[in-house]
Symmetry: C2
Subunit: 427 residues, 2 copies
């Protein structure tokens, strides 16, 4: 009997480890020059639950951000997008419990008023304060909670791992765990070696197919990136990571991803042409990838983190369309929930999306096991597949046999808990 080899996914470059970076503690406070806090401001129904986060740089610094492309973008997105255009900011205030979306011009006024409260407390220009919200759509956001919550958050600001974690916790909605990541490493910058940190947190569990950034994410680095380099690095990282996550194909109205670059690591400014740039950009990408995987693993109701690799496509675009078609297929996602090695649904999902290929050239691996070669099923050991389904991750790889391009997308399974969570979220 012929031995079938698993598909070779291929090494990926541009990640932090390649440049000697290692994981570290500290989340969004790992970078020097950053402080954070998370407090309970009474914005959510549950009393004493943290619902207001504040992240502050010691002084206004380089800042880049990406936002949702949803046409129904929320008020805080409109306000922050305008303010970050100049490439600098000092702080961001985030709240859960209310998205401040579909609230019109009054919603924008509330967003600006919350920023003004922060600016007043920090003694900075209110144009340097960004805002982000998550929660229910179409309900006016009341200022009351911010009037007491923001001063409390300012009083609690600290540069500690705990403070970073409090902020990460305050933006959680249906998330079951706080999602943080940080890397540190040294890079040559000019004539010196500087120690660089990149860290951050993200929230997001449902309404996740970012196509821009995921729900709410705050990143920071002490590398002295120029505003332009920060924007370039952030956009590249988001495109490879958050924009490749899909929990339920729903793009939020509020997606926001902000990167502060404090410059506290020292050394000359780093732009895209600097020798140090690739390493810093790789560290940013790795933090984003780590957070992206955490989002998919914590997708609403999820029991499995699913990685879909499409190989052998004619173009990256084709590969991504096929990967998303598989990752968003309710039939694929429920089969994974049911520990059903139903690769036929993977084949059907690949075939439905309009990308041309010949089924006679397609190979599929499920859970690392070759199940389809040249369009024909291979004998499958069901017991072995069930055993492999016990792990926390499911890998799906499909080769189209059309070219050299590839894409990777992360998702999760579709479960009873997803239906429960979203069937009675608002009521």
């Amino acid at each position: 009997m012929q031995e079938w080899q698993p598909l070779v996914i291929g090494a990926r470059s541009g990640l932090a480890e390649e440049y000697g970076f290692v994981r570290c503690e500290g989340g969004v406070c790992a970078a020097t020059g950053m402080r954070a806090a998370g407090v309970a401001a009474g914005l959510r129904k549950e009393p004493n639950r943290r619902d207001l986060a504040l992240v502050v740089a010691d002084e206004a610094c380089a800042c880049a951000a990406t936002f949702t492309q949803n046409r129904f973008c929320a008020a805080p997105v409109q306000v922050s997008r305008e303010r970050v255009a100049n490439g600098r900011a000092r702080a961001v205030v985030l709240n859960s419990g209310n998205a401040n979306a579909s609230t019109g011009e009054p919603g924008c006024e509330v967003a600006r008023a919350t920023a003004a409260i922060v600016a007043n407390g920090l003694g900075c220009d209110e144009e340097d304060v960004l805002v982000a919200s998550t929660g229910v759509i179409g309900v006016p956001l009341a200022l009351d909670g911010f009037r007491t919550g923001v001063p409390a958050a300012i009083a609690a600001l600290a540069d500690t791992t705990e403070a970073a974690h409090d902020a990460a916790t305050a933006v959680m909605t249906t998330d079951t765990v706080a999602k943080e990541s940080a890397y540190e490493g040294t890079v040559c910058s000019g004539n010196e070696r500087i120690c660089v940190h990149v860290g951050g947190f993200v929230k997001g569990s449902g309404m996740i197919q970012p196509n821009m950034a995921t729900m709410l994410c705050v990143l920071s680095t002490d590398a002295p990136l120029t505003a332009k380099a920060a924007r370039t690095a952030l956009r590249a990282a988001v495109g490879q990571t958050f924009n490749k996550v899909t929990v339920d194909s729903d793009t939020s109205t509020n997606d926001t991803c902000i990167l502060f670059a404090t410059g506290h690591a020292g050394g000359p400014a780093i732009d895209e042409a600097s020798d140090a740039y690739p390493a810093v950009a790789a560290a940013i990408r790795s933090v984003c990838e780590d957070l992206s995987r955490q989002i998919a693993a914590d997708g609403e109701g999820a029991t499995k983190l699913v990685t879909v690799d499409v190989l052998g496509a004619r173009s990256e675009h084709d590969a991504e369309v096929v990967a998303r078609s598989i990752a968003n297929s309710p039939l694929v996602k429920t089969a994974i929930f049911g520990h059903d090695a139903n690769w036929g649904r993977v084949a059907a999902a690949a075939g439905k999306c309009g990308v041309p290929f010949e089924q006679e050239r397609v190979d599929i691996d499920l859970l690392g096991v070759p199940v389809l070669r040249a369009g024909l099923p291979l004998p499958m050991d069901e017991d072995e597949m069930l055993r492999r389904f016990e792990g926390p991750e499911v890998d799906i790889a499909i080769s189209l046999g059309e070219g050299e391009a590839s894409a990777r997308v992360w998702t999760c399974d579709l479960t009873h808990d997803y239906v429960t969570i979203n069937g009675d979220y608002r009521t």
Copy 2:
């Protein structure tokens, strides 16, 4: 307080009632010259469950068909597509329990062999026999059941309502009800008035976003349509009906929709230029629309038939993209399951799909109640909304304020039962 009027969907033309057609009994046997049968051939795990259907015209006649556009199209699709190209056929044999998909050339040989068994029993050319299958993907289809089942089906062939129903029942998989429809009316054809019937059945409950035809559908009419007119009428009807249904955004490998036109109603041949053509085409469309609504209402695990109307779009394409984005949104579908009047998710789903519009011009009605006007929420009586959720149907209407084009799509809610059905379908 201002009174808000519901959006006006607008009258739809080209349906059977416009031409004086009325509903009738008989399903696929409503048209004279058609017989059907459904028998238990042992193709499914459950013994004695009907799993083989046969639909036969009294003699070879005009025939048109549409098929899935999924690249992983099944063997019976490949065989039938080739055979119907000449615009004529005598019979179709359908089975449930096994899709004969991802089975390669051996699968095509099995499909041709089943047709040969039918041709042998009927005494006709095997090229005039079509095949269709539904069920599990990637498992070889055994001929054994057909060797005994086809002769039993031929013996049971009848032109009765019961025989039509047996055939409709035999193709059911996760369907909870058999889906049939028929219309009758008189049309002027040449110098005479002829009595025309159009009827048929369909199966389909999951893996439904046809984009060609839905799962398996057999239609018949006794109108003397030419092969070309049958094809034109069928394609137009399928485009307006089955292709506008989405249960779970998954397009099947096996979608097949076949129309026989026996000509038994008499009169001269009807082509696209005939006076009688619009009425017959309208009756075909109405049967397809009726069956489409039955599919959506019987979507896997569904508790509600959901109709999404998009108005005021710049183009029909834009309208359909927005309608599908709403209809496929897991967050919208779970909210409906939870009787949650969460129009914010409708807005978010409309905004995420890339179709450009200004949120300040958008109006939304939910369950016939205006909930959003010019992008801003209206006061909503939650008790009244809960009361309206008690009905079997949910209507969502959204006007983009960009133009005059519109589209209608049917879907269903996303429930625990969908997850249950698809989480352990194969095992």
